[in-house]
Amino acid sequence: MSIAIDKSEWKDVWTLAEFNHGKMHGVSFELLAWGRDLADDRGCKLCSVVLTDEIGDAELNQLFAHGADMIYVVTHPALKNFITEMNAKVVRKLVEDLKPEVFLAAATTTGRTVMPYVAIQTRAGLTADCTGLAIDPETGELHQTRPAIGGNIMATIKTPDARPQMATVRPKSKKPLTADESRSGDVVRVEMPEEFFVTKMTMDTFIANDLNEIPVEEADIVVSGGAGVGNLGNFALLEDLADVLGGTVGVSRVPVDQGWRPYIKQVGMSGKTIAPKLYIACGISGTVHHIVGMQTSETIVAINTDPEAKIFQVADLGVVGDLTKLLPKLTAKIKEEKERMAL
């Protein structure tokens, strides 16, 4: 690329922690697990960046326990809400002043918004939605692997000349490290100019999701439906099974396109990546687009009329048959089994 920079000035691996509503999002620890390997390979520090309204030592120590060597904290009352202009200004200033070599954020609504904004303004390289990261032993460059073209290929991308090497990483694509409470490090509180916190965009309200409904990415058991469910009414069969298992219902892309289920329930490349204990795929053919969103589930059961369906290649147990016939029987049988176990 045309921009000549002195790459030796850029050091350390950074992760953008997600801390809001007084809670550290689990993805912050997943990022540290990715970053730990990279920092060890580069022989550098692993630093976590936190932007929020206020945060206590206990939460910060959790970042150390999960692998951070150092934490940069920016606190301001305005940072209670995520406003792109503001968060991007703060992150850009940190990047330009402190020059990280590698900078990772989660591929969440936050990471996928602030990272491209900052990457443009700092002329950095940015790779979206990575599922694999490694340091090339020869060049020391970051190799970033991601699905593309509807998940039909895996592309490995590098940023040879620009810095930082930025990436957003799919949530649930790596397990956090086991917490080591004995680890500690430096907390650096960074002051930002007050004008950074004056924004044109403002938040009127925040409407929290119904907490009684488990988000598909947090459920231990997900019963998912695809085109093969056939119609909106048949989703009741999936709901019944999910209820008896204590899980929730997810979908592949077609039911969202059909308006049978909302986008927030979509599992797959343009939806959520999930890794539940049990994933039951009903009437899902298994396009790569879908598979990249659920293949790290611990156990996968698939029901499909087509014995050649690709979903069976990633399943542990497959049933070839009609879900409208099988699901009611399965639900009844599990209910019976659970009642017996409760006695």
């Binding site: 690329m1 045309s2 995520f82 792109t84 202009e85 969440t108 609504t109 936050t110 918004t113 491209p116 904004y117 443009i120 390289g125 940015l126 790779t127 593309a148 073209i149 509807g150 998940g151 290929i153 895996m154 592309a155 991308i157 590098k158 044109k200 965009m201 403002t202 309200t205 925040f206 409407i207 988000p215 058991i221 298992l245 396109d257 909302p262 986008y263 927030i264 490349m269 343009s270 049990l278 790569v288 598979i291 990249v292 293949q295 059961v301 009329t305 990633v314 542990d316 147990l317 497959g318 049933v319 070839v320 048959g321 009609d322 016939k325 029987k329 399965l330 049988k333 599990i334 089994e337």
Partner: protein
């Protein structure tokens, strides 16, 4: 009011065939379509325009000019996508096409689109689809906002003008819905929920055929040669692999009535073996 909608022409990838040897896409016979989410952004933009027209009629104002302009960077044949945008109701369209633009990553793509937006001049909103179905990065919309230094809302499920120069936005995030507002100009990237795309009538399609779509290259855009195409792109592709999928399912027959009970029993036993009940 002026709204600019950057769109992308993409291969139809839902049933894409891959070369098993090389792991590359078999492009022959692959239809080119407007990126699906760009149909939603076009619809959202057209609705915002109609809303403003309605508003001013009610206030019996002298009609300001309202227009939606589609732009696209791509090969010459991407003008088909722009014709479709015109048929849907866009007033004008510009194609950004030149061999020097090829090989662009999201940085260089956002740069060219931004140059075109600057050339068009004043605007109220830029409305983008949240991501394209082929690259799947979702980085170009935010990139345009960053080049222009404008307020940005991503993952927008609903947008409406609540004053001449204020847009209110619903933004879907992991744990809920944000209601935001911003003065214009601003950049939005929208989800499917933002507007169910209208179908052009045959008459509109025929009329669109007659509309001339100017093509702009690096000279018209006064683009810095160091910032376009592969040369302007910070990232490089190292390699392309086939995705690895692996687990071999134990397959159980469950088609016939007799098999169904066995199959259900097998699933229940399996879940018990794995302590999932």
């Amino acid at each position: 009011m002026r709204i600019i909608v950057p769109i992308k022409q993409v291969p139809e990838t839902t049933n894409v065939k891959m070369d098993p040897e090389t792991g590359t896409m078999l492009r022959s016979g692959l239809a080119s379509i407007i990126n699906p989410l760009d149909l939603n952004s076009l619809e959202a933009a057209l609705q915002l325009k109609e809303q403003m027209q309605q508003r001013q009629q009610n206030q019996q104002n002298k009609d300001d000019d309202h227009e939606v302009i589609a732009i696209s960077m791509g090969p010459k044949n991407a003008h088909y996508a722009l014709k479709e945008a015109i048929a849907m109701g866009c007033d004008r369209a510009f194609l950004l096409s030149d061999r020097k633009f090829s090989g662009a990553d999201t940085w260089a793509t956002a740069y060219v689109l931004t140059q075109a937006i600057k050339k068009i001049g004043d605007f109220d909103l830029i409305v983008c689809g949240e991501r394209a179905s082929d690259g799947d990065t979702g980085q170009v919309g935010p990139g345009i906002a960053a080049f222009l230094g404008l307020p940005l809302a991503t993952y927008v499920s609903r947008a409406q003008m609540i004053a001449e120069d204020v847009v209110q936005i619903e933004r879907l995030v992991e744990d809920g819905t944000e209601i935001l507002r911003t003065p214009t100009p601003a950049v939005l990237t929208v989800l499917k929920e933002a507007g169910y795309p209208r179908f052009p009538t045959l008459k509109q399609k025929l009329a669109a055929e007659e509309v001339e779509i100017p093509t702009w290259g690096p000279d018209e855009l006064e683009a810095d040669a160091e910032k376009i195409g592969l040369k302007g792109s910070p990232t490089r592709v190292v390699k392309i692999d086939k995705p690895q999928v692996g687990r071999k399912a134990e397959l159980v027959a469950g088609r016939d009535k007799a098999d169904q009970d066995n199959a259900v029993q097998r699933v229940v036993d399996f879940l018990k073996e794995r302590n999932l009940l």
